[in-house]
Amino acid sequence: MNAAAPANPADTLGADQSAGPAGTPEADRAAGSPRRADLVRRHAGIDRLYHWLTAACVLVLLATGLLPHAGIAFDWVNLHWTTGIVLIALTLFHLLRSLIWKQVRTIWFTVAQLRGQQVGKYSVAQKLMHHAMGVMVLCAVVTGALLLKKISTPLLVRDPYLFGAGTWGIIYAVHGLAAVSAVTLVMVHVYFALRPENRMYLLAMLTGRMSRADQRERVRGIRAGETHLT
């Protein structure tokens, strides 16, 4: 993530700037898909893979964790803990990648960004959503990893007496709060991802690229206070 404000807002993606000028988003759409030279890279393949795998894990974990408590009974335990292991691995990967290969300070935002005077790769709203999701996932995976000791798995010896009843209760409560907050966060995230004005972000998370025209429109919208908080 790049929260710094370059002199040219179009440089915010750190992409190859050698291509020629781009048209407006409308012109691009009228002409069909933008030429490859008019596209800038927004997400690396590894980050897109991480995003979609995490999304799949969160959806499976929500379904297996909450549906039985909403009256839909099925054998959920094995699918839940195996998916949980995958989410733990993905979270560790993301943490290591962020801490070692990326600049951690760029995940926060400045007052100038909040006012729309400075434009980074991600808007304030996107960063806030990331932080909310991050806290939720961290709470879920840490408590979920501890809860593995309550069930028999090939990975760990079951030990339900590792903690007292009160401590297990708090672990269950934090795990549950993470799960129900994920319901709201996923709903809001999917809604904003499907908004017509945010189509460029969804396409970028699918293809890794964004057109220069869409990028300019994005910067203009944020500076005009139209999109950075909505």
Partner: protein, 50 residues
């Protein structure tokens, strides 16, 4: 509606067992509320601009 499910430990002391599962519906409602609120905001803002 309570936020937590309460129980007792082997010594009879009250302990938290987890969250109340009613919170699933609260979370769903909150999501619907945010989405509806934003849709109304966009609708009203669009109408004001016209």
């Amino acid at each position: 509606m309570s936020i937590f499910r309460m129980g007792h430990d082997p010594w009879g002391r009250p302990v938290i067992e987890g969250i109340s599962w009613d919170l699933i519906w609260v979370a769903l409602g909150l999501g619907v509320l945010v989405i509806t609120g934003h849709l109304l905001y966009r609708l009203l803002r669009g109408a004001r601009r016209e």
